[in-house]
């Protein structure tokens, strides 16, 4: 297994594959972590994925959690939003942290496995797909070129992917003209952590400014540059720092500060039409580029990693047919298209592409204080997990219905529960294997579910039955739904069964055991061998 690219997505793919017992070589062209803070907002879903390899602990310890934001038009507040959040949750809806820390934590997780070999600076320079192998020429730091023959190549080599170029594949979609300067500065502050946005602020009339706090007393400041400004001039410190100073003064942040990093960005809505090309799989920015607004870049890349790793591990271990990898492509291309649609909406508000959008935004911002109904237009539509509608893995649902809960293809709902070792969350049980959640207050698992546990192997191809009881006590196979969150969020009744994929998505659900497969293990194997059970 060869991974090209050691950014946050490549390193996470490596760590996840290793967790499933797959040995990999990772080649990263740069000598060290990324320069600058880059992607700084890590979603709840991304925290769950990083949690499968233990990278959540340093991330949440170092990162700054936040739950909402405030937007201003000139000097008046026009929107305050809160993302869904509750005291019993496992992870905050969003954590701010510099991308290089995410890379460091994913790298440490990969190395802990003992079966990931990270080499840098090593660049993949030529890719030759063969029928049963991929030949890749790697150029080492000393200039030596070595050819690696890999069963599979995962391309996580970023927006200017060499692998993509080598295979002659092109991203499809559109780019927006509006440009933003991105600046990191170091400054002490006591301001609450939230997403801050100013439209047409007195400090920088006509511009739009975003601010996010990061660890180590760092502010991320993004501001839009006017259409007539030259890109080279716009990122020169003498042009950037006066604007930053004016804005810090306006908001009363008076502590001394120093710039750390300056970059420029324009919104792109681009994706490959397929993320599989024979034995080459694409993930992260190598597969798709989405607008910065709504923080879907890194977060969708980590979702790619979470979707791909278990499938690739099963195929590599010959527990599934390679058609399973086509479902990686179809599910994640669908997700990219949805992320692009939301990202485009956000971009049309944050960087209006023409006079029509500029006029409408001006109207919405002016109207917002007087007309609460239009305030939702200002909301930044933050990243959230995408439903895999129509996935070939989704098991058909019996018409005798669920009133609520999550259907096949949706992320499995979170719930705080009690396990035998203490309080935990349902999502903490996902990530290692398939899971059968059996909602019942009977004290034992029915024989058909016990047999599943015995029949199947350990590891990512295994199927772990867990009884979710509303009363009684927790044990090795039983968790207790003390707060009633699980039963409610899964729309469960006595005997309801959910089949959860190793990436925490619902694969199928049954109102009761009578309507469920007689042999879950066999049904699962049929689904993984290709086609539905």
């Amino acid at each position: 297994m060869l991974i090209a690219g050691g950014g946050p997505v490549g390193l996470t793919v490596a760590a996840l594959l290793a967790r499933h017992g797959v040995r990999c070589l990772l080649a990263e062209a740069d000598a060290s972590w990324c320069e600058g803070s880059r992607a700084i907002c890590v979603s709840r879903r991304s925290q769950e994925i990083l949690g499968w390899v233990g990278a959540d602990r340093p991330l949440t310890a170092k990162g700054l959690a936040w739950t909402g934001g405030t937007s201003y038009f000139r000097d008046a507040e026009v929107l305050h939003f809160e993302m869904p959040s509750e005291p019993s949750e496992r992870f905050a809806p969003m954590v701010n942290i510099q991308q290089y820390y995410v890379e460091e934590y994913a790298h440490a997780a990969a190395l802990r496995s003992g079966i990931v070999d990270v080499r840098r600076p090593v660049r993949a320079i030529a890719i030759r797909p063969q029928p049963s192998v991929v030949e890749v020429d790697l150029r080492w730091q000393d200039g030596a070129i070595r050819t690696v023959r890999a069963d599979w190549l995962v391309a996580c080599d970023g927006g200017r992917s060499t692998v993509r170029e080598q295979l002659g594949l092109e991203l499809e979609g559109t780019q927006y003209e509006g440009r933003y300067v991105i600046v990191d500065i170091r400054q002490d502050t006591r301001r609450a952590v939230e997403r801050l946005a100013w439209f047409d602020p007195p400090s920088n009339p006509g511009s739009t400014i975003l601010m996010h706090r990061q660890p180590d007393n760092v502010w991320r400041i993004d501001y839009q540059v006017a259409d007539h400004e030259d890109s080279v001039e716009a990122v020169k410190p003498e042009n950037v720092l006066s604007r930053v100073q004016a804005h810090l003064e306006m908001i009363g942040e008076t502590a001394p500060w120093a710039p750390l990093w300056i970059s420029m960005y324009n919104a792109k809505c681009l994706t490959l039409p397929s993320y599989r090309s024979g034995r080459v799989l694409f993930a992260g920015d190598a597969a798709h580029l989405v607008p910065i607004f709504g923080v879907r870049g890194l977060n969708s890349g980590l979702d790619d990693a979470g979707n791909l790793a278990w499938k690739l591990a099963l195929v590599q271990q010959r527990l599934a047919g390679d058609a399973l990898l086509d479902s990686y492509s179809s599910e994640r291309v669908l997700a990219a298209r949805e992320n692009i649609a939301f990202g485009a909406k956000s971009t049309e508000f944050m960087a209006p592409p023409h006079h029509g959008f500029a006029l409408m935004r001006d109207a919405a911002l002016r109207l917002a204080p007087a007309a609460p109904l239009v305030r939702s237009l200002i909301n930044p539509r933050q990243s959230c997990p995408v439903e895999y509608t129509g996935s070939p893995l989704n098991q058909p649902e019996c018409s005798a219905g669920f009133g609520g809960g999550a259907r096949a293809g949706m992320p499995a709902p979170e719930a705080k529960i009690r396990a035998c070792h203490g309080e935990t969350h349902l999502t903490a049980l996902f990530g290692a294997s398939f899971v059968l959640l059996y909602f019942a207050d009977d004290s034992v698992l029915p024989p058909c579910l016990q047999n599943v546990a015995l029949a199947l192997r350990p590891g990512v191809g295994g199927l772990r039955p867990i009884r979710v009881a509303s009363r009684g006590s927790a044990d090795a196979d039983t968790v207790l739904d003390e707060l009633g969150q699980a039963w409610k969020r899964y729309g469960a009744a006595q005997g309801t069964v959910y089949l959860i994929r190793p990436d925490g998505y619902v694969m199928g659900r049954w109102r009761d055991l009578a309507g469920a497969p007689a042999d879950f293990g066999a049904a699962l194997q049929r689904a993984l061998r290709g086609g539905q059970s």
Partner: protein, 59 residues
């Protein structure tokens, strides 16, 4: 109208303004506003909305 529908309307109007061009945008929006206001049963409220829009535009 839910939030997603409002967003669709917002985008449709923005694209429509771009299609007619800046010179005719005022006429487009006056036509639309007159149509919407003529459906408002309370004339006093319609006048309030006009004055509110004037205040918000002047700021």
């Amino acid at each position: 109208m839910n939030e997603a529908e409002l967003e669709t309307i917002y985008t449709a109007l923005a694209e429509c303004i771009a299609r007619v061009g800046e010179a005719k945008a005022s006429l487009l929006l006056a036509t639309l506003a007159l149509d919407l206001l003529s459906r408002e049963p309370d004339a006093g409220y319609a006048l309030e909305l006009i004055l509110q829009a004037e205040r918000l535009t002047a700021a």
